[in-house]
């Protein structure tokens, strides 16, 4: 038998080189995710601001009184102008929604612009282009749209957040969408939080290892993996259709005047409630499980009943974890779009929702509809609405992290 001396060193440098190359590849893959996140945020901010050419249907100069331009007129003058120019029906309708005495000058001015001047968006540019090639844009604008106004617009303003939905891009806002989202989430929480915490306590504290309880556990895990659109279909069949009498408010004689069917905030909230229920249960289970056994034993030792132990000792200690999990589930529900579309979100509502039996829209629905429109200006509005949505989610997540760090107990 011939014994050859293996050469240990000949390929060692190659092996190390391969190691270094692959380390770079692994790092690059991780960084790609971060790059994608950066590109996404850049893209959204880029679209939220920028130049736009506005075409006034009626030249604002025609509304000047004694040479005083529109911008400098007093509130009373503007109200008088509205009264003179609008039909009395339209004027009274505005007055009924909110009387002119209550409206501020800025609000009345916005109304004048919306109803009388009627700006239309001709063309828009994103932020980056507006900064880097502003001279070209200005030259292009004066050549192609003489007489129209080229202005730098921030699509995201305080007004944008507080204005209701409108059919004109310049005056459209997301107040109704935000209120719709808040109403829906309120219903979701009212339903899913007690149900989820109850289920978690049952499974962790009461359930024995029987086939039924194993079935419940497996079932919850499987439900967490069901696509959200399936929940939408379920909501459509159960809440909107089968329980129409309940979700439209007919049972309580509270039918909202704007709607008479089951496509209401209540249906949407319950559908999202079913969707986040498994998430809340799983998170709450972990929180309950983390409470040390010694606390329970001590409580039993002092003669407490099972429920007394759970209510006075297990729950207070698990609460931070439960709340953190619930907040994360809520932030998932706020961003959900597909189930709401299927349940039947309304396309255009400009009236604030006033009860759970009202028609609903929501922030992500509004974003979806604006994104789906072919005209460019709506994309800018969608971007601005996305900024608001992301800010909302960010603050929720910050709250969750704060809760976790502030109240986390080590045993």
């Amino acid at each position: 038998m011939k014994i050859t001396q293996p050469d240990f060193s000949s390929n060692l440098s190659a092996r190390h080189r391969r190691g270094r190359t692959w380390q770079l590849v692994f790092l690059a893959s991780t960084v790609i995710g971060i790059l994608a996140l950066t590109a996404l945020l850049f893209n959204i901010l880029d679209s939220s601001f920028g130049f736009a050419i506005l075409h006034a249907k009626v030249d604002p100069a025609t509304f000047a009184v004694d040479g005083l331009p529109l911008e400098e007129q007093t509130k009373d003058q503007l109200v008088a102008l509205l009264q003179a120019e609008l039909s009395s029906g339209a004027y009274n309708k505005l007055n009924n929604e909110k009387s002119f005495e209550e409206r501020s000058r800025a609000e009345v001015y916005a109304l004048v612009v919306e109803r009388l001047v009627k700006y239309e968006v001709e063309e828009t540019w994103p932020l980056f282009e507006s900064i880097t090639s502003s001279a070209e844009i200005k030259a292009y604008a004066t050549e192609k749209y003489p007489g129209d106004k080229l202005t730098f617009i921030s699509w995201l303003t305080a007004d944008f957040v507080s204005r209701p939905q409108s059919s004109e891009a310049v005056t459209a806002g997301i107040r109704t969408a935000i209120l719709g989202s808040l109403w829906t989430i309120l219903i979701t929480v009212l339903f899913a939080f007690p149900m989820g915490v109850g289920a978690a306590i049952y499974l962790e504290e009461y359930a024995s290892d029987s086939w039924l309880n194993r079935l419940i556990r497996t079932n919850i895990n499987n439900l967490a993996g069901v696509p959200s659109i399936i929940y939408g279909i379920l909501g459509l069949a159960i809440f909107v259709r089968a329980l129409e009498k309940l979700t439209s408010g007919a049972v309580f004689r509270l039918v909202d005047p704007t709607t008479a069917n089951g496509r209401t905030i209540l249906s949407a909230g319950l559908t999202l409630g079913l969707l986040v229920l498994p998430v809340i249960i799983i998170n709450a289970q972990e929180a309950v499980r983390a409470v040390p056994q010694s606390l329970r034993k001590a409580s039993y030792g002092l003669g407490a009943t099972k429920w007394q132990t759970v209510w006075w000792h297990v729950l207070p200690n698990a609460l931070p974890g439960i709340l953190t999990g619930t907040i994360l589930a809520i932030s998932r529900a706020i961003g959900e779009t597909a189930p709401l579309v299927v349940v039947g979100a309304s396309t255009a509502i400009s009236v604030d929702p006033s009860s759970p039996f009202a028609k609903f829209t929501a922030l992500p629905i509004q974003i979806y509809q604006w994104t789906a429109r072919p005209q460019g200006e709506w994309r800018h509005l969608a971007a601005a609405a996305i900024v608001v949505l992301l800010a909302l989610l960010l603050s929720l997540n910050a709250a969750a992290i704060f809760l976790r760090n502030r109240f986390a107990r080590k045993y």
């Binding site: 240990f8 092996r15 391969r18 692959w22 380390q23 692994f26 790092l27 893959s29 991780t30 995710g33 971060i34 994608a36 996140l37 590109a39 996404l40 893209n43 959204i44 679209s47 007690p194 149900m195 989820g196 109850g198 289920a199 049952y202 499974l203 009461y206 079935l215 419940i216 079932n219 499987n222 439900l223 993996g225 069901v226 696509p227 959200s228 659109i229 399936i230 279909i233 379920l234 069949a237 159960i238 229920l277 009943t305 429920w307 706020i334 961003g335 779009t337 597909a338 579309v341 299927v342 039947g344 992500p364 974003i367 979806y368 994104t371 789906a372 969608a382 971007a383 949505l389 992301l390």
Partner: protein
């Protein structure tokens, strides 16, 4: 002194309420199966529809009575396929980096950022696909090749969405491999890469497989990205630059208007939904089975 167990009706009531909340999730599942099954049954009983043509037909055009689900399925496969082409290698590489290479500080910075990616609502990804990735693809491949709505950009963005999911679950699996295995390999003279690829990766394979299957199931059920960016209208094609409607995208478009009950469209979304539910449930169960059966147990 009476030491007999006292009857406490209050405790029994509370326990019953808690049992109900726990049992409620069964109702949800039964509700899903019953409603999907019932309406899909009504759909298949319609004279225009038959099950064989539903599963093999290449045209989905309700107005002329063509109900072949294949165009919707191919679009779903194309978007899912592209998404996994992105998410599996990148997610796995990121998991290896985070678990084997990154310092603790690096890991604590990178992992939350990836988790942010997973927390962004999918409608935002849809916007991103339509207004950023599609124009990018069109400037690379030419706007006569790439349509405004295309399955390619939807798939790419979906890959970014699923990347953190795969990275996170795979990283947990890699982390669970005991240190002694790595040390043994180092002791035999292996380099870091060889330890990661030849020792740790195979040991964590069941967890990684489960992550991948979960990712596929997520991609099949993903809705808003494809509804915004992949196109409206069924199209029997495998070309990622063409517009095509996926199963989920179709459900969203059809139910967007005021859908009237018991119409053929209404019933058809339940049939498609049932198909979707069966596909994702099967994948999820397989994923759970893999974890349970092939988990390497180290003492």
């Amino acid at each position: 002194m009476n030491l007999k167990k006292r009857r406490r009706p209050g405790e029994i009531v509370i326990q019953s309420i808690l049992f109900f909340t726990g049992f409620f999730s069964i109702f949800t599942t039964v509700g899903i199966v019953y409603e999907l099954g019932k309406e899909a049954w009504l759909f298949f009983r319609l004279p225009e529809v038959n099950l064989l043509k539903f599963l093999t037909g290449t045209q989905w055009q309700p107005h002329i009575g063509e109900f072949g689900i294949l165009p919707l399925v191919t679009a779903t496969l194309v978007t899912t396929g592209i998404a996994m082409l992105i998410a599996i290698p990148l997610g796995l590489a990121a998991a290896i980096y985070l678990s084997e290479y990154a310092s603790k500080k690096m890991r604590n910075t990178l992992k939350p950022i990836l988790e942010v990616l997973a927390g962004i609502p999918t409608i935002v990804y849809g916007y991103f696909a339509l207004t950023f990735v599609t124009p990018l693809l069109r400037s690379i491949f030419g706007s006569d090749v790439v349509e405004i709505y295309n399955t390619g950009s939807a798939g790419l963005v979906m890959g970014i969405l699923i990347l953190p999911l795969i990275a996170s679950i795979s990283e947990d699996a890699l982390n669970a491999v005991p240190r002694s295995l790595r040390d043994a390999a180092y002791g035999l003279g292996a380099t870091k890469l060889e330890v990661a690829i030849k020792i740790v990766l195979p040991a964590a394979l069941s967890g990684i497989a489960a992550a991948v299957i979960l990712g596929i199931s997520r991609a099949i059920g993903e809705t808003m990205i494809v509804a915004v960016a992949a196109g409206a209208g069924p199209n029997f094609t495998l070309n990622p630059f063409k517009a095509a409607e996926t199963m989920t995208g179709h459900i969203v478009r059809i139910s967007g208007g005021d859908l009237s009950y018991d119409s053929i469209d209404y019933n058809s979304i339940f049939a498609i939904g049932l198909m979707l539910f069966v596909m994702t449930l099967t994948l999820n169960i397989i994923s759970q089975r893999i974890v349970r059966r092939f988990r390497e147990v180290y003492e």
